[in-house]
Each structure stands twice: as structure tokens, then as C-alpha cells.
């Protein structure tokens, strides 16, 4: 009887461990990331290893339709303008399933990128197998990665005023990249902001 009880408790415990680790899966600060290869809006495949001269990457999960992404578009363009030449280009990735999020399809991405004149790749996670590796949960969601170690140095928001660029008082991503550029660790490595959940088809996803 006692062993049965213990077995039941163990089973319950392992169930809970499983149930709770599913969501927290994904890269943490300090983790080494795998390279990925995704299709860009110019129909060419882009991979991190293509960037021979880069020191690192500002990887941003974003999309066309989320108002928080839209509110950050100009800031994403500005980040690329400021840091691409310094060795930290922006790599934008749309993680959404367009069947669930109308307007987030590959052709829609081309249109939006042309309208806003994106200077960075805007990749489509068509199989939705890249964003879960990162553990991205929303758009926008930023990951800063250094190239020589391929380690995550920062996860979070672009700055401290996601919905209103005029009220920004702390530029998290800029501060982190500036630190990395002079060989320091970012002071803030994790921040949060409101965003749109990444859209998956509950019936077919995984």
C-alpha cells in the first residue's frame, strides 16, 4: 500500500514537472543557440552563419498585425540603422501561423517590409519550429546573441515604453548592445513588456 502511494505521488510529481517545464522550454540568458535557416521576404534563405563580419545579432520576433509590433517598427528600423554597421544587425522573424493570424502571411510580410522600407531581413518561421527553440512567447520579443559564443545575452523588450516611443526613458536593447560592443556584460539581461501571443493553430500545432 505504501509503495503504491509513493508510486502515485511520484507519478503526480513527474506529471507536474512535465506540465510546467513545457512552457519554460527555450533559451535562457547564457544558453548557446542553434543556427537556423529561414526564408527571407526576397525569397532567399538566410542563416546566421551567412553573417561573416557580424559580432552578434539582434533577433526580434515580430509580425505585421500585432499593434505592439507596429508601435515598435520604427524603433526596430532605428536599431538596425545604428547597430548593423557596428556588427549587430537586426534579424526579424515572423513566428505567426497566417491561418490563425490573418495578415501575417509571407506575401503580407513582403508588402509591409516594402511600405516601411525594412533594411533588415524579415524571415518567416513557416514551420513554426524556430520560435519554440528560443522560447519566444509574443511579438515583439527580442533576443540578443553574440556570434563568437552564439550565447544569448539579453531577452526581452526593446525599451521601457513599448506602446509610446516618445515616453522612452530606458533603451534596454541599445544599452545591452553598447555594453557587449565594449566587451562588457549587459546590466539588464531580462525585461518584460506587453505583447501579442504568438499565433499557432491549436488543432494542428505539435
Amino acid at each position: 500500500m505504501k509503495t503504491l502511494k509513493t508510486a502515485t505521488i511520484l507519478a503526480i510529481l513527474s506529471f507536474f514537472t512535465l506540465a510546467f517545464t513545457v512552457k519554460t522550454d527555450g533559451y535562457k540568458v547564457g544558453d548557446k543557440i542553434e543556427n537556423f535557416k529561414l526564408k527571407n521576404i526576397d525569397d532567399k534563405m538566410v542563416s546566421l552563419s551567412d553573417y561573416k563580419a557580424a559580432k552578434g545579432f539582434i533577433i526580434i520576433f515580430t509580425c505585421n498585425m500585432c499593434p505592439y509590433s507596429v508601435a515598435n517598427e520604427d524603433r526596430i528600423i532605428a536599431l538596425d540603422a545604428k547597430y548593423k554597421t557596428k556588427g549587430y544587425p537586426v534579424i526579424a522573424i515572423n513566428p505567426n501561423d497566417p491561418n490563425v493570424s490573418t495578415g501575417d502571411g509571407f506575401e503580407d510580410m513582403k508588402v509591409r517590409a516594402a511600405e516601411k522600407r525594412f533594411t533588415f531581413p524579415y524571415l518567416f518561421d513557416a514551420k513554426q519550429d524556430v520560435f519554440p527553440k528560443f522560447g519566444a512567447l509574443k511579438t515583439p520579443h527580442v533576443y540578443i546573441v553574440t556570434k563568437n559564443t552564439m550565447k544569448v545575452e539579453y531577452i526581452g523588450a526593446i525599451d521601457n515604453s513599448s506602446k509610446n516611443a516618445d515616453a522612452v526613458t530606458e533603451k534596454y536593447v541599445e544599452d545591452a548592445v553598447d555594453a557587449l560592443l565594449v566587451g562588457k556584460k549587459p546590466e539588464k539581461t531580462e525585461t518584460r513588456a506587453i505583447g501579442c501571443s504568438i499565433k499557432v493553430d491549436e488543432k494542428t500545432y505539435k
Binding site: L137, A157, N160, N164, I194
Partner: protein, 164 residues
């Protein structure tokens, strides 16, 4: 006396128009996090369901009727629903209020407008990434946070864990 008479006359007129149009909402109260906080930690005998949503968030809009239904179905079980909108402040008159009127939202709606997202998202729940929809259910004995969408059955199942 005459003054009182006038007021009561006016009141009756107002009442009639309300009856005809059903209750039209014309404003939504805006809170910063410190103002909202007391609503997230009441210690009476009720069960509070706090849903973080926005009119622009499609999965939020989809699940909203389930929160409205829970409010109705469990009103006599001391269950209260609060819908915390994260709509952009400039969209309140253009989007939020028309949405509430169109869908005849019965639950209490407030707007959360606070720049310190990095602080209050963590404060509301350590595990919350900031993605919406998200829901907090609490009583004085128990507290659970859900960064997910709900179907009615799943929501009811969670509420029942608070009732039993």
C-alpha cells in the same frame, strides 16, 4: 422645493432614454498599476477572475464571451469578473468603448495604462512574459495565473477548483 422638483423630473427623462437604448457606456476608468493593485489582492470571500485583454487581440476577443458567461453562471457563487484592457489610451474612445457597447459587455472593464511594464508584469505574476490573453484567478486562499487562451469548459474547470 421647486429645485428638487426639477431634478426629479429630469431623472425620469434620463431613465426612459436608458431603457430604450439599454445602458450605453461612455467612459472607462484608467488605472496605473498601483491603482489597479488593490483589485488584484482583495481578501474577502469572493473569487476574482481578472482577464488581461485588448480589442486588438483576436484570441482575447474570442474568449471574452466565456468570461461574460462565467460571470453570469457563477454570479450567485461569489465569482466576480474584471476585464483589464490593455488597449492603447488613444484607442479608448475609438475602439474600446464602441466594442463594449456593441457586445453589451456586462463585466467591469478598466484600462491599465502604466509605462513601467517591466515592473508590473513581473509583479502580477513572476511567470508572465507579458503576452495576452492572460488571466489571473484568485481568492483569499488560492491564486493562479494563466498565460493562455480559454475555452468555456477549461475556464469553468479552473473556477471550480477555487469553489471546491
Amino acid at each position: 422645493m421647486l429645485f428638487v422638483g426639477i431634478i426629479s423630473c429630469k431623472k425620469e427623462v434620463v431613465k426612459e432614454t436608458i431603457k430604450e437604448e439599454t445602458t450605453q457606456i461612455s467612459s472607462v476608468k484608467t488605472y496605473n498599476y498601483n491603482e489597479l493593485k488593490p483589485l488584484l489582492e482583495k481578501s474577502d470571500d469572493k473569487i476574482y477572475i481578472i482577464n488581461f485583454w485588448a480589442t486588438w487581440c483576436a484570441p482575447c476577443v474570442k474568449e471574452l464571451p466565456y468570461f461574460e458567461k462565467i460571470k453570469q453562471d457563477y454570479a450567485n457563487k461569489n465569482v466576480e469578473v474584471l476585464l483589464v484592457s490593455l488597449d492603447f489610451p488613444k484607442q479608448v474612445n475609438k475602439k474600446l468603448i464602441p466594442f463594449m457597447n456593441k457586445h453589451k459587455i456586462q463585466s467591469k472593464v478598466v484600462l491599465l495604462d502604466d509605462i513601467n511594464e517591466d515592473v508590473w508584469i513581473k509583479a502580477i505574476n513572476e511567470s508572465w512574459s507579458g503576452a495576452i490573453p492572460a488571466t489571473l484567478i484568485y481568492s483569499k486562499k488560492n491564486r493562479k495565473f494563466y498565460e493562455q487562451s480559454f475555452e468555456y469548459e477549461a475556464l469553468e474547470k479552473e473556477v471550480l477548483t477555487f469553489l471546491n
